[in-house]
Structure formats: C-alpha cells, structure tokens
Symmetry: D2
Subunit: 468 residues, 4 copies
C-alpha cells in the first residue's frame, strides 16, 4: 500500500511515529507499497541477469537453474495473491531476494553478482514505462476508433464551427471529431518516441561505475527486449528523463482529453443540447429524472490537473541533482504509476463516451445557421465570382447582413432582388452559397470540412491509425 | 484504498473494465478510497446538523437522538476497524448514510433535510484542513525547538558563511540554524492564516441556493468551531481556495525544508564533514562501514517536488470552472491529503535529524578561515578607524590579501610590519579583527552573527515560538 | 529592457555572442532591463540608509546631505526619462551608484558603508512587493464595487443555478455575482497577509553576517515603513518566501478571475445569450456585424496559466538552495513583476467587463425554468408540509416530473388535480412553490439566494469591503 | 516591446489606463511587442501563399509579383531596423499588411484570399519552433563537443564517483562528463522529434473550416519546407501541442543543465576544489581576489525554474479549451520565445564553462581514495577469485575496512599479512585491485568507467554526435 493509501486507510496514523526514529525512518524510506507494482519487471530482469551470468560463466548452470526456478515460483505466488509483504523489507527487490533465499538457499546471493540496486531499479522502471507506452497506445487507438465510427455516422451532420465560442462558420460534426482523432494520433507518436528513447538497458552499470566481472550486457539487454545496453554507466543509474518523457506525453494527451471533455460538457447543457452522453457515463437524480450530469467528462477534464502535477513533481525532483544515484530518485515511481493509471481511466471513459454519445442533428444544424454563419461564403463568392477586392466584398457583405437582421431572416432567406439592390453585380447563383449545407459542401480544400473530404479523411485515417 | 493503491495492489487491473461502462464509471467515479479519511469530519458535521435541525424543530428530539446515537456507533466501528467498505457505495458519505439506516431505520433519511452532498463535502474538507493546519503547526514548532536546542549548543561554533557556495564571511553555526527557525516561523504564520481563512462554515448552503427550511446556520457553524457560516451559498459549495492556501503553505514549508536538507547533505560529504547525521536517519553499507548515506535528508529534499506538484494539480483543476459544484472538484482531496501526509513525514524526519546531528566544530572553524574570510573585516576597519573611503579601503585590502597569498599564510598570521609596509596608516589594533573568532564577535548589529546576539535571539525566539 | 524584450526587439540576436565569453557573461548576468523597475525603491532605501548612517555618526551631515541630494536628482532624471542605461553596468544599483559618483564625487562611496548588494536588493524587492500588494488590493476593491453595482441591479433577476453545468435550481443573478465578490474578498485578505509578512526590513544584514559598524537598523526600517528589522541576517538575504506568497496570492486571484471569465464567455454564446459584454472589451468582425468575440475575457482566462507558471518558476529556483545568497536568486524579480503586471491588466479588464455587461433578464429567467428546476422545491414542500420522509418525497416528485414531461409543460403549469391524482396529500398551496420566482424567494436561509437576502448581503458587503 | 518590457521600461504605467476601456483593451489585446519576432516567418509564409494563389490562378501573375516584391521590401526594412511600430495595429500581421498596402496598393488585399489570421499565425509559430529546434540542436552539439574535448583530456583522471553525494567508487572524470554528453544526445533527439512532429502546414485551413477557393495546400506547404499540409482544418488552427513539445524538450534539457551546473558549483567550492571555472564565467571580488563566484553556473541552475514555468503556463492555457481558435492562444508565444532564448543563453554559457574549466587532477584523485572507495573491488575479488558467496565476501571486506580504519591507512596500504590474518584465502594478487587506479582500470564492462572504455566511447560518440 502506498503512503497515500496508508494514510487513508488509517487516519489515526498520528501515533505511528511514537516508536522513535527507526519507525519514522522506515516510514519515510519504505517504497514497497509503491514499487510492488514492479514485481513482474523485477523478476523478468533478474531472470535475464541470471541467464547472462550463466552464459558468461560467472555462475554455474545449476545456480542459474535454481535462481530461475525460484523466481518463477515467486512470480506465481504474487500473481496468485499469495505473497506476504513485510514491514521490515523496504522494497520489492528485497522482498523477492529474501523469498528467493527461502526457496533456493544461498545460491540466491549469486544473483547479485555484477549488479546493484541502482541498475536494477532503473531497469525495472524502464520496463514499466515501455509497457505503459504500449498500453496507452492501444487505448488511444481504441479512442480513435470510436471517434472515427462517430465521424463516419456524421459526415453530413452540420454544426456551428466556433471561434471564441461564437458561431463562426458551419462545419460537419464528423470533421470536428476528426480533429481530435488527429491530436490523439500525435499523442500516440509521443508514446512511441518515449518508448523508443526509454528502450535501452541500464543492467550491468552496477552501482555506478560498471563492473570488473566479464559480463555480457548486450545479451541481457536483448533478452529483455531492449535495443541495446546504455552506453555510460553513470548515466544509466542517474538519469530519469525517460520518465519525464512519459509524464510529458501523458500531459499532452490529457490536455487533448480535457478539451474534448469540455466540449462534451458544453454540448450536454440544456443551452446547447447538441449531444446526449451515454447513461453509463452520467449520473442522474432521483428527483429530476431528466437530469444528466456529465460526471465522467468532468472527471476527465479535472484529471488533467493531476497529470500535469505529476510532471511538475518529477521535474522538481530532478533539478540540480548531482550524479549518480541519490535517494530523491525514489520519488520517480509514483508520478509515473499514477499518471499511467489515471490516463488509462480517462481514455477508457472517453472512449465509452465518444462511442455512445448521440448527436441531435436537428439542434446542431439549427444552431449552425445562427449568426449569419455563411457571411464569409458570401464575401468569398463576391471575390471569386465578381472579382471584388477583399475589402469591398466585406463591405457589401456587411450591408447584406445588416439588411437580413433588419428583416429578421437568415441570409439564405433573402430574395435575390434585395441582394441586387445592395450590389448590382450579384447574380442568382449566389443563393446557392448561402445555406449552411452548401457552405459546408463547398469547403473542399485539402483538410476542409466538406462531407466528401471527411469521408476520404476517415478512410485515410483508418489505415494510418491501424484500425480495421 | 486509493486509486493509486488499488493499482499497486493489483497490477493486473487491466481486466477490471471488461464488464462494461458501469464498472468503468464506478472506477472513475468512486472516491471512497480517498475520502474514507474524512469519516471523523463527516460524522461531526452530521451530528452538528442533526442537533441544529432539532433545535429548529425541523426534526423531532427523538429523531435527533437516534441519529446522533447511530452516528456515534458508526464512528466507534470505524475507529475500531470494524467497518465494511462496499464497492457499491461511491463515497464515505453514502457509506455512513447506508449504515445509519441499518442502525436506526427510516429516521436516517431526516438527516438529509436542508443539506446536500455539496455543502456536506465542502464542510468536511474545511474541517480536515483546519485540523491539518493545527497538526502541521505543532510539528513546525517541534522542529523549531530542535533547531533552537542545537543553536544554543553552538552560539560560539564558527563556520564559513557562504555566498555562491563560496566562503564569504565567518558566521556562527547557531546563527545559521536560527535563520531556518525564522523561516519556519513564517511558515507557521502561513498555516495560521490558512486556518483562519478556511474556518467558515458551508453547511446549510444546501445544493447551491440555500434552503427554504428555517435552519440556523450560525448554530451549526458554532457547534463545529467555525467562526461563522459562509455568507454566500454558491461560494460555499464552489470554492476551494482554502485548499489552495493549504497546498501553497505546504509548498513554501517544503522549500525551506529542501534548503536545509541540501545543506545537511553537503555538510555530510567527506569534503565538508561539518556534521554527522544521526544514524537512525542514514543508511549504511555492509561493505563500507564508514559510509553514511543521508537518505532521509535526500527524501525530504525530493518530496518538495511532490508537494509543489499537488499545488499545481489543484490550481489546474480549478482553472475556468463555472459555478457552482462540478465533479472536477472531487480531485481536491488527494492533493491535500498527500501534501499533509508527506509534509508530516518530512517535518518529523527533519526534526529528528536537526535534533541528533553532531557538528564537528574543529572542521567548521578551520574551514571558516579559508579564503581570507575576514578580508571584509579588514576593509571595514580601514574605513572605520583610518577613515579611508570605501574604494581605497578595498584597494588596500586587495593588496594585503595578495601578499598573504604569496606568503602562503592567512590574514591573521601576517605581521604588523608587513601590513604597514602596504599602508602606513595601519596600526597594531588591526590584528584584533583578523581572526575569525574576532570577526564573528564584532558582528553585533541587530540580527548579526555575534555569539551574544545569537544567545539573545534564542531567548527571544523561544518565547515567540511558544517553546518552554 | 529585459532578456525577453531584447530577444523580441532584435530577432537576429544569434550573432550577439560572437565576441566571446565576456559578451555572453554580460548577457546572462545582466539584470538592468528587469530591475530598472526598482529604481524608486532603490533610491528610497538608499536615502533611509544614508540618514541612518548620519544619525549613527558613521558619515557626516554633509556627506548625508550630498548623498540625499544626489539620489533625489537621479530619481528626477529617471522619472523624467532622462537617465541613460549603459550596457556596462549590470543592474540598477550600479547605475545609480555610478551616477551618484558623477554628481557628488567620492562621498558616494560612503553610502555603501555597512551595506551590501545582498541586503540592498532584498530590501528593494520587499518594498516593491508591498506596493504591489497595495495596488492589487485597490484593484480588487474596484472589481468588487463593479460586482456589487451589478448585483444591486439584479437582486430579482432570476437565472439557472448550475451544477455540472446543468440547470439545478434557480438563483438570482445578484447572488451569483456576490459569490465572486466574496472570493475576491478572500484574495484581498491574501494580499494583506502577504504584505504584512513581507513588511520587515533586511537592510543592515550586510552581505550575510551583519556588520561591526554601530548602525541602527530599527531607524532605517522605520523610515521605510517596515514593521521592524529582520531578526536574522542570513535569513534576511537568503529568503524569498515573501515573493512566493505574492505569486501564490496572484495565482489564487487569477483562478477566480478565470472562473468568472469562463462564465462570461459561456453567457455570451448565442446558445446562452445571458449577457452582452461591453463593446470595448470585445472584438468584432467587419463581415459579421452581429459577432462579438469576448477577447478580453478569453485573455483573462488564459493569463491564469502564465501567473501559475511564474509561481512554479520561483518555487523551482528556491528548491535546494543553500544559504545565504546565490546568484539563482536573480531569477526572483521577473516572475513577481510579470504576475503583478498581468494581474493588474486582468483586474482592470474584468472590472470593465463586470461594470459594463448587460444581462438579458428574459433569457435568463426563461432558462431558469428549463429542466423542472423547482423539483427540489416540490420535494421539500412534501417533506415540510406533508411530513413525507425524504425518500418518499423524492419518489412522488419523480412521478410528477415525469407527468409534466409527458404533458410537455413545466411543473408550475400542472393542474392541482393532476398533482393530487399522483398523491392525495398534495394541497393547492403547493402551486406557490413551483414557479422559479417563488423558489428563489423562498431561499431565505442565511447566505441563500432570496432577493431579500441578496439586498442585505450587498449592504453588509459594501461596508466590509470599504466601498462607499 | 512585450508587456513585461513595457512594464520595465516605464514604471509609471499605473496611469496608462486612465483613458478608459479602449486604451486598456489595446493594452491587454496587443501582441505586437511579442510577435514582432515572427516577422521573418510571417513574410515567408505570405510569399509562399501568394505564389500558390498565383499558380492556382486565384490571383494574377502581376498581383503575385507585386505582393512578393512588397513583402521583400518590408523584410529589408525590418532587417535594417527601419520599420515603424504603431500602437494602433495590434500585431505583426497587421503591421505587415498595412505596410504592404502602402507599398503596392489595393493588390495587398488579394493576399488574404483563402487565408485567415488563424492559419497564418499557426503557420508562423510552427516555422519559428522549427528554426528554434535546429538552433538548439546546434548548441547542444557544441556543448557535447566541449564535453568530449574535456573527456578526451581526462580519460585517466580519477575522481570519486558519488552516490548520495558520498564517495562510492572511483570513476574517471572523462567518464563522468560523457554521462552528460549522453543526456544531451537524448535531448537533441527530443528536439528532432519536436521538429518532425511540428513540421506540417496549417496554411489553407483558413479561419477553421477550409475554403471554397481551389487552393493547392501541398504547394505552399512544400514551399515552406513542411512535410505536408495538416490533414484537418480545425486541428490546424486550434492545436498547440507542438509548442508544448518544444517547451517540454527545453525543460528536460534545462534539467540536465541544472545537474551539471550544480556539480560545477560543488566542484568549485573550497571544500571540493575539483575544478576551476574559467574566469569569464565567474565574478570576483575587489576585496577577496582569490574568490570566484560561479555566477553563470548558478544562473543556469536557476533558469531551469523559468523554463519549467513556461511549460506549466502553456499547459494551463490549453486545459479545457473548446475548438477552434480562442484568444487564450495568444498566450502561446511568449513561453516559447522565452524558453528558446533562455535555453540558448544557458547552453552557450555551459559550453563556455565546460570548455574552459580546469580540473585539479591531484585533488580529485586524492578524494577518490577517501572512504575506502575500493571496498567493492575487494569484495568482488573475493567472490571472483576465492569463490566466496556474496554475503561472506561482504563480511570479510567489512572486517578489513575496519582494520584499515583502526590503523589509519587506506585499503591499498594494508600489508598482505594483515589481510591474510583476517581470511586465509586471500592471496597477494588482491593488492592489485585495491588502488583507485586499478579499480578504475578494471571496470571494463560495456559502458564502464575504465580509461580504455572511455577512449572508445569518445570515438563512438564523436561519430554519432556528428562532431568532426
């Protein structure tokens, strides 16, 4: 159990420290409740190390076999929830070491030849981050799939495109959702890069200086799936920039999620009523049955704070630390574990919401027409068809909008005669560009919002994102 | 157990979500593992509310008596660790409510008259912060006491005063320690202010708008020790600046701790060897028996990152939130609980180290003499006694220092004749100001480092700090 | 001009460093473009120091008179924009010192008796922070006045009270605005406390250890309006927690501003249309005359990021710094100046917007009725008047709401007969609690939203806030 | 001039706002003092756009020629410092537009066909970030070159390798410096990735929805050196994750710099005296000629705070922003510009210090021997040569270290007879592993600290880093 949890589980912890410095030191020093999560990585790393020691003839075949057998037994015990955590052993490494000795006896000690806690723990955390990157990538892909599915259903659904949260120009709902799919595409790239950069092996750096044992670091690196051993032993045990990368990628992703969550919350208000979020991700009220609070979206939005906080936390820890290992580095794990866990929750919740939300096409299209959102189309038409300079086109458009306001109609409901009275160069063809549907259809420039574009973009994206 | 802990305790949690949105929603929505820590506050708040409802004749005497009895029974059960946490109830409030119904039946429902979860949870967190401020204040006072004790033992111990981590002028070790005691004095003031500002009562704001029941908010506020009820019901349920205050005060304190920790780490290096930290707060090596790693000091230094991270986290959560309650606010508790817990650990560890560290007076005094640290005293003497302008005094001093370097001696070992050859106005009296002991003794300006000053400062501080 | 500005003004700065380390060192070391803003504080501090040296007979009356005259001349020159900044003098202190020597000759050197740059710069920044607190307090008060003015005009204007950005219960617009006035009240308290804690005088701490000159620190402290001299010379030159306090108070204020800004942006959307922001604080479009982008509100919201960034920046600088002065501390000023400046901009802009916004009462009241926002009132009535247990009251209310939905009417348009068919205990009196106006009127608990309450709250607040 | 600078240059700005909302709005809204730095990017973008419009037959050849000529003239004017900034034009784009109209008349208006400020400013900032990545990469490479040069000179220089800032095992100074070169290698990779991900073109996204003009976005993207046009128009104008990437890469780099700076500061203390920093990067004292304050190193350490602050700032700005453009995004530029500028300063200063620092080999080697730093070598020898289990080897080593302490000698000065009395299995060969030189020499595992390794690592690194 982590420090946090301990605190929570036992609010009377005030009395804990009575027993003097030893108890207090154990309390502040212990990391078992945090690094317990690394047991899989730790055992994998130890097995690779043992096999390498064997191949390098530093330990015997028998010793290696005993060690591997013992470690696999321990893994089974932990997997099965049959492993006992002791207050007296400060971390997961010591727990496994102690248990290994119980199982195989003194040979357990051989495992620590040419290795130290410093390179061991750095290896474990890199393995964890690598796995976390892969898991996050899969979750991001699932979210993209949900967005593409909705986008596919809404290539022709028209909504207001906002700037400054004011209606600016109509866009398609599909196009809007694809914008997020693209953000998450870059986020996936961030996790790929984080994984690639993290994927080098500290094992064999020993305490800090390397070792005089004839070890084969390339072998153990390969066995663990690393690209190569780290090239400098001090760097191997002292650096945590790979963890900062993970936290930074998580932060960027959570920012994108917070933007989408904000929109879902807005869209769900009675004022907007653009979408209805799936019941499973909202909370109701026994008294107001029509009410749906977008709890999950709010939590996704809020958790971006925590994920940024974790990044700040580790950066502050690293500031000004001299080489090589310092105990401050023990504070590297919780931010990583927490951001990983929280981001997983957020991605799954967002995928559920994106997948299940129901758009109210009618409300959206109606809102798209508010505020003369096709005025730009009119001005563009004047430039394009009548060859008016931009400024003049704007001026004419302004007068037409004003007229529409006075008449209390939207642009597309003006008569051609009324338009021509403002500027004689206007022809009936203009009418075709004044409806929101026509506006959207005309935005065919690469990356533009036209339904045709959106359909193509979905097809291209599916392939690029690896979605079948 | 917190989200974090859950994650840690069961690393295979990937499978958890298989059961669909409901399970996921429960996972992201649940706060019981965090807000369990608030049970004491929650029960106290409910008792005060029930008594007020009774006095206002909104519920009967019997109902109130049943409610209070039931709540006290629940408190006893939780205190004794006999309370069952259920996956199906999302927070501590629902747990207590459900249990109360089991114990006293339908009257339990009366407790929720003229109250909502929104004002209830805001009240609980304010009560928690108030208690946390008091606890932190006491811990800061204990640390001050340890610093004063050491300062008292070292009013005459001379060490180098550093600027830019270069020896600048000699100071006393006692004076150096008092600088930290003063910082912690201001930190205590921060917690006092945080407490004062937090100490107003949201109870009775109901969901957001107040209530039409004839409640007496002053009565329940008073019963809970608040200064008064909050004046605006929307503000009462939507604001968390009191929690930001707590996190900011914790951050400032942790920065001061990080500075002292850094110095302890430096002082413990073989290169400095100014102090020896108590064994209980260091870790050794079976192989290098003379080695003492200052683990606790490093952790104190590192944890400043986490505490700043918590502050950033909550600020980000609050940014741009419309009134009144939003679910994002559920992310307010963990930063507060964690900073409180971590700061407690740090303060206790630092108190132990400050109390038990042993200064090596000889090493310190020897180092104080390096680098002609009394050159400023010499220049000041020339200004004061020979009425030289400052710039001239500096020039003469520079020449004398250069001579000492050439001769390979410290300033105080120059002969008066050598000094007078550089400037004839120098008299033998100058010699008295060239030793580090004399330098320190002469700094008698208010707040200066002289032993006499330090002794007086300790006496004054003891009284101000409330240390007997 | 600051590094930032230099960079901006001359984007070809890449070539700047060609001239070798000296030019580079000057570039990284210089602070004149930042600390120029401190000239007023620096001169005031020097005058107080000179007068004290005179009174303590460390310099002569004539020297003091010359120094003071020279400094006042320099202040005049800078005030008038007639002061030349030189690349060769790294900070404002050296500029003033050099100019003073030009004006009064060698006596200028006497000013530096019993003082160093370290205590001088700490004094200047404290004076700045004190002034900034006072200015910010006045701006916050002006914003409160604008909010109270609007609140006074809208004691009876009904709007939806939101939770989760869903309509929850009707509130008055005046009540909503008062919630912010209360937040800013606490922010003012934060600046008062920051000022109080900062208001002690480092002057006379000298480089770090105090001085052997017989100075009178109480005199110079008093002359500068400080409460007392700082009690420990090391603390005086090494601590910057007062600057962290200022940045933290600025952050909390900016968070409150970001919330109000967010609401103004929401309220200005075509979907909400609750308020119309004053033209002077929005930007239009030549092509869409009806469009009003809430630029100023968006900038206020966004600048909360920068203000939090400044806080993080200084915290990171301070982490792990050994005593006493370190050059890192030069990075203390820009965050303070920038947060002060940006917060001033934000407060003035928000005051302008709060003062000039026009509420659309009709839209607000109409929206307040959506979503059966008085369902809680109905349930409360059933509890209060019919003595139904809470759960039963909720159940009955749910059925009534469902009926209203089926009939397509709001609660207040149901007939008494329809209500009684659902529950026979309902009497015609219930109808009085189903309108939003009645709902709001009934919330008379202390701090509740009833118009009467709001009127009283405004009167009480005016007095407390010092608004005439 | 930026807001910051304005503030600094004119401390009497309090009066600025007297003239009412218009002046205030201009003040908060204007970005010209910040985005002036983008003029080169803005003109390049406009030229590419004009050429594309011409090729797409949207404007005439003559119009395009006029526009390009006019823009190039403006670039010349700004380059030459002959461009007038006006208070009335809020940003660099409007300045250039207005000047273009003065030069070429109405054709200037044609430039804005099929483009808006939103895609224009996003394009400019991407071009800036791309250039900043390239510049930073070159500076990082120069720093690596300085580190390799020093490492090459110190392949055999022995120093203590620290863990917990306690001597742990001897390492070579060259090896230590290479650790940093590796960190900066990964930092270069971060800037490469940032550049790659940023290098897609928003131009042609128009306001948010694309355009109905038949533009060729691939052509303008290619002309500006972008890899391809952005695939979604909403994403193109609303996303700033590329700027977050830049700030995150800057933060990681600055953390690595802060660690090296910390070590330089430590190494320069009289207590360590491992290196002497070049005079050009330190400041002296007229009075203490031997003193050298490591100012530049301290500033490099401190500026990591500011660079992290900039990252936090932009993350906060982005949190919860709905699509597409919002004015908050105007706050994206200053953090980027400032981090770029500050990091450039830091990298240049660090390169100067790394290049010019002089190591005191004797002091380093002497310190390396303190604390029985070869005890691990002894234990390893016992494991390797005598086949002792690890625990036994540790036990024996502990007894030997204790003996050395009692005799007051270092391990290598013990006699073989003394060693054999403790354990009979020890042979004279052991003596060869007890000196620090031998210890270092024996660490030949890949990535270990042996001089041979370091020499090879330098050769490999030079090629990888592209250093000739």
């Amino acid at each position: 159990m982590s420090g946090k949890q301990k605190h929570n589980a036992n609010p009377m912890w005030g009395g804990r420290f009575e027993s003097g410095p030893d108890a207090l030191m154990r309390e502040i020093n212990a990391s078992i409740h945090v690094d317990y999560a690394l047991y899989g990585e730790d055992i994998a790393g130890s097995i690779a190390h043992a096999r390498m020691l064997e191949a390098s003839r530093i330990i015997t075949q028998q010793e290696a076999a005993d060690i591997v057998r013992g470690l696999e037994q321990i893994r089974g015990e932990i997997d099965a929830g049959q492993f006992t955590v002791s207050e007296d052993l400060e971390d997961i490494h010591m727990h496994i070491e102690a248990r290994l000795k119980e199982i195989i006896g003194d040979a357990a000690g051989r495992l620590h030849t040419a290795r130290s806690r410093n390179d061991q723990v750095a290896t474990d955390l890199r393995l964890y981050v690598r796995r976390a990157c892969d898991e996050t990538d899969r979750l991001l892909q699932a979210l993209q799939a949900a967005l593409l599915k909705q986008a596919g259903a809404h290539t022709h659904t028209i909504m207001p495109g906002f700037t400054h949260l004011q209606s600016a120009q109509p866009v398609t709902f599909g196009h809007h959702l694809l914008a997020y799919a693209e953000m998450f595409w870059r986020d996936r790239d961030r996790f790929h890069e984080t994984r690639r950069r993290a994927n080098e092996c500290p094992l064999g750096a020993a305490a800090l200086a390397g070792t005089s044992f004839p070890i084969d670091r390339h072998m153990s690196a390969k066995a663990l799936g690393f690209d190569h051993p780290m090239r400098n032993s001090l760097d191997a045990v002292a650096s945590r920039d790979f963890a900062v990368d993970f936290l930074a990628a998580s932060t960027t992703t959570s920012l994108h999620l917070s933007r989408l969550a904000e929109e879902m919350i807005l869209w769900s208000t009675p004022q907007f009523s653009f979408v209805r979020l799936p019941e499973g991700f909202t909370s109701g009220s026994s008294i107001m049955p029509q009410k749906r609070n977008p709890d999950a979206a709010e939590l996704v939005r809020g958790k971006s704070g925590r994920i940024l906080g974790n990044l700040v936390s580790l950066c502050m820890v690293l500031k000004g630390l001299p080489l090589a290992y310092n105990k401050d580095l023990q504070e590297d794990k919780e931010p990583v574990f927490d951001s990983h866990y929280q981001l997983e929750l957020c991605l799954r919740a967002m995928t559920g919401m994106a997948d299940g939300m129901q758009a109210d096409k009618e409300r959206m299209e109606q809102a798209a027409g508010w505020g003369h959102a096709t005025a730009t189309d009119l001005a563009d038409w004047l430039v394009r068809e009548c060859n008016l300079p931009f400024r003049d086109a704007h001026h004419v458009t302004g007068r037409i909008v004003k007229l529409a306001d006075e008449l209390g109609v939207t642009l597309e409901h003006l008569h051609i005669g009324e338009l021509q009275r403002i500027d004689g160069r206007i022809t009936p063809e203009v009418l075709s560009c004044l409806s929101v549907a026509q506006s959207v259809k005309s935005r065919t420039s690469y990356g533009g919002t036209s339904p045709e574009n959106v359909r193509n973009a979905i097809m291209e994206a599916k392939e690029r994102y690896g979605i079948v």
